[in-house]
Amino acid sequence: MSKIKDDGSIWSGLAKKGVSRRDFIKYCTTVAATLALPSSFVPKIVEALEKKQKPYAVWLEFSDCAGDSESMLRATKPTIGQIVLDVISLEYHETIMAGSGKFAEKALQDVVKNQKGKYIAIVEGAIPMKDGGIYCTIGGKTAADIAKEVCGNAAMTLAVGSCASWGGIASASPNPTGSVGVGKAVPGITYVNLPGCPMNVENVTATIVHYLTFGALPALDGEHRPLFAHGALIHNNCERRAHFDAGQFVKKWGDEGHRLGWCLYEMGCKGPEAYFNCPTIRWNEGTSWPVKAGHPCFACASTNNWDAFGPIYKRLENVPGAGYQTSADKIGLGVAAVAAAGVAAHAVIRATKGKPHEDEKK
C-alpha cells in the first residue's frame, strides 16, 4: 500500500492517526447526510479534506457552564466529531489547555495576530453587557471586548450552545447581567448560531466541514442557525409521533404508558414547537435523546425557551392533531371500531380526563 504523503492536510492527519481510507470515505458520507446534502456531494467533501490544511481555531468561554465543551468531549470512540476535532489545531481552550495566566493570553494573541482573518473562533457562553460588561472578565478584559477583538479578526465565528447563540440561561428573565449572544454583542461578524443546551457536536463538526468544503457557511434560517440542523420540527421526526396521533399519552411518571414509550405531550413536551435534529442525529454518538430516554423535550435550542414556552412540565396548548382515544383496549374488541366508524383518522376526539367518553357507556 502506498504511503500517504504527509502534507499537513486533514486527510493525511487522519491517516497518520490510523484512519483507513474506507473509514475516511464513510465519515465524509456521514457528514454529507448530516448536512442534508445528496450523496453526489461526497466527492467534493473528500477532496476538501484531502487538500485543505488544518484550520486554526480558538475556543472562548464566557458566561457559560462549559456544557458545550463537555458535549465536544463526549466521544469515547472516534466519530466524525472526534476525527475532525483531532485535525483542527485548537490553540486556546481554558478548560483543557496546559498554559494559564499570561501564557494562556499569549497563546490566544498569537493566533489572533499570526492567523488574522484565517482562524475559526468558537464561542461558548453568553456575553453580559450590563454595567460595562463587568459580569464576565478574563485577564482583566471584559467578555465583550475579548469577543470584539477575537471574533472581529476571525474568518468566521461559531456560537456554540444556546448561551452564545441567543443568551441562553443567563438571559432568562430577569436577565440580571444583560446577557446576549455573540451575534448581538459583536455586530457585523460572520457567524453561525449552533444552539442547544448543550449543542450537538455533530452539527458543529458538520458546519466546519461544510465551511472547509465550500468556503461558505451552510444555509441559515432567520436566527442564523443551519437549516440542516434546525429546519425541521422535532414533532415531525419524533419516533413517538404515532402515539401522539393515536392519543396514547403518558399521564404520570412511571405509569404504564411511560413504560411503553408513549407520547410525552401531557408531561410538557415542547417538541411540537422546537426545531432541532435531535430525533435523527441524537446524542452521545447516536445513543439517545431526551424523548427516547423518557423525558419531554423543553426546546433547549429555541430562542428564549426558558420564558417563551412556559414551564418545562406544563403541556403546550392548542397542538393540533392530538388524538384522544377513548380506550386503546376497546379497539381489539371491535366496540371502539364501531363507535369510531364515523370519525376521520386524525379528528380530535374530545375526552374529559378521567371520565369515560359517551361511547364507552354503551
Binding site: 457552564c65 478548560t95 489547555m97 498554559g99 472578565t137 482583566g140 440561561i169 447581567t177
Partner: protein, 59 residues
Amino acid sequence: MAKIAIDPVTRIEGHLRIEAQVDGGKVTDAWSSGTMWRGIETIVKGRDPRECWALTSRI
C-alpha cells in the same frame, strides 16, 4: 515585593483569578476572584419549582 496575577486559571470549570503577593520567593498574601456571575439564584425565583433542577444544573 511583587504582586502577580494568574487570570485565567485554566483547566477548571468556570472563571477564576488568583492574585498573590510574593516576598523573597514566598507568598505572603493571596486573593481569589470568581470573575463571572449570571445570577441564577435570581433567575429561578418565581418559576415552577419542578424545573429548578434544569436551571441550577447549568451553574
